[in-house]
């Protein structure tokens, strides 16, 4: 299980990359005593499901964020025009506390957590990232949705000045995404505000993005400005762009190919050879029950 115990220190005090590794080394040496040093590599390589995160540089240099260009390295270069502070998020729809919240208010009283998650892009590359954020369920509980709220819909900022990529009609702007309520309420689903204990960089979707680790990366909508609680399945951007290639669910599934390429394997960033993709990206034990009885080939 990858969920770590909640941390009771604020994110800015947590980790930079070297401290992150230092802490694991320390934990390993404490945990394994005299064999600590020798046992460390195996511990990091994935015993007990422990994952080795990619470097901060990798995670923040290779991004799909078309609002800043369609090249993978464009967002890092161009996202400086985004102003993530101050930032407000409008909460709408069937909910008891609709309002425009500042990011600080939205998360007030909630505990930030660190989660090391696999990240699987629909393009068949993958990475591992140590996110900092808040379980979406905690935020939703706080906002108190009504009985008609069957789905949660998210919207990215629409501002071609801050997001110059929106001047081209490569996608329908603004970017929209959505989750079924049970998916949104799942403890693995995270609203992310940081990575490696640092404030989330613009190119990764500052100040707040979604991470749903058992789904393809494009479900992880970035720079969120609106959260709506709705009754019907909301439209999602890549589904609008190419409905035969990208579905609403977008669960990682090695048995259902993208029309143009196999999803059976994935290539970890920086590596030459592929490795098998896991059902639900390795989170099947936790999430498979959400989809029992559903035809995953039809609901891709």
């Amino acid at each position: 299980m990858l969920i770590r115990k909640p941390q009771d220190i604020p994110s800015h005090e947590i980790t930079d990359e070297s401290l992150f590794w230092g802490r694991r080394e320390w934990l390993a040496s404490v945990g394994l005593g005299l064999v600590g040093a020798a046992g460390l590599p195996r511990l990091l390589q994935g015993q007990d499901g422990a994952l080795k995160p990619d470097s901060y540089d990798t995670i923040t240099s290779y991004n799909n964020f078309y609002e800043f260009g369609t090249g993978k390295e464009d967002p890092k270069q161009n996202a400086h025009t985004l102003k993530p502070r101050p930032w407000s998020i409008s909460v709408e729809g069937d909910v008891k506390k609709p309002a425009s919240y500042s990011v600080e208010d939205l998360f007030k009283g909630l505990t930030q957590e660190e989660r090391v998650y696999r990240f699987r892009c629909v393009e068949a590359w993958s990475m591992v990232a140590p996110w900092n954020g808040y379980p979406l369920r905690d935020v939703i509980k706080k906002l108190e949705p009504g009985t008609k709220a069957k789905y949660v819909a998210f919207t990215t900022l629409l501002d071609p000045v801050q997001m110059p990529g929106q001047r081209r009609g490569v996608l329908d702007w603004p970017y929209v995404e959505g989750l079924r309520m049970d998916e949104a309420m799942h403890p693995l689903t995270l609203l992310v505000t940081g990575v490696y204990g640092k404030t989330l960089p613009n190119q990764n979707g500052a100040p707040v993005r979604l991470i749903v680790p058992w789904k393809y990366g494009f479900k992880g909508i970035k720079s969120i400005v609106k959260i709506r609680f709705v009754e019907k399945e909301p439209a999602t951007t890549w589904n609008i762009a190419a409905a035969n290639e990208y579905g609403f669910y977008a669960n990682v599934n090695p048995n259902v190919d993208h029309p143009r390429w196999s999803q059976a394997k994935e290539r970890p960033l920086g590596q030459f050879f592929k490795k098998p993709t896991l059902m639900f990206n390795g989170y099947g034990d936790q999430v498979a029950s959400l989809y029992s009885g559903m035809d995953l080939r039809a609901n891709y």
Partner: protein, 213 residues
Amino acid sequence: MTEAQVIRRIVKPVLWVAGLAPLAYQIWAFLTGHLEAEPVKGMQHFTGRTAIIILFITLTVTPIRRLTGWNGLIKVRRLIGLFAFFYALVHFAVFLVFDLELNFGELAKEVVERPWITVGFSALLILSVQAITSPLAMVRRLGGKRWNAIHRLIYLAAGLGLLHFFWSQKKDIRLPLVYAAVLAVIFAVKIAVARRSKAPRVLGAPGKTSESP
């Protein structure tokens, strides 16, 4: 220097260096860690684009020859065409080794089931046949007419390669559009030049011996 000497001593060496430069760049990037975060995808895109560009350059040899009247240029067309084939082959090899791990069953499946792979693979087959029939001995063995029929398929290969490029894009098709525009210009010039020029096809005329070494 005679025209033949200029081609042998200057044009061909320059073409060899230019033709090998993309490969040298890839090897340098590979050895020094300058490939992108998805190194295999980076190599695929680079070698694919290089193959298409060189294929386009191959198509410009004849109109340039006719416009300049420098008929000796025909002697470098084969070399340029073989470089285009070489990069298409490397492109394919990267796919076969790193994506399919030399699993030929997978390859057959990909070629049959995914139309954009079918298209790219067809282009490679055309270039392969052309490479095999590129030696002068093959021109003589096949006869100019048949040889020309085979080598006119380069237009089809260029079109298929371009289609494969379009199809490989997720959403942003600006770059393949630029390539398509360039190909359209090349075709327009070729047609205009061919209409104007009454120059005989060097390799097309049966019994013509101007290609003899």
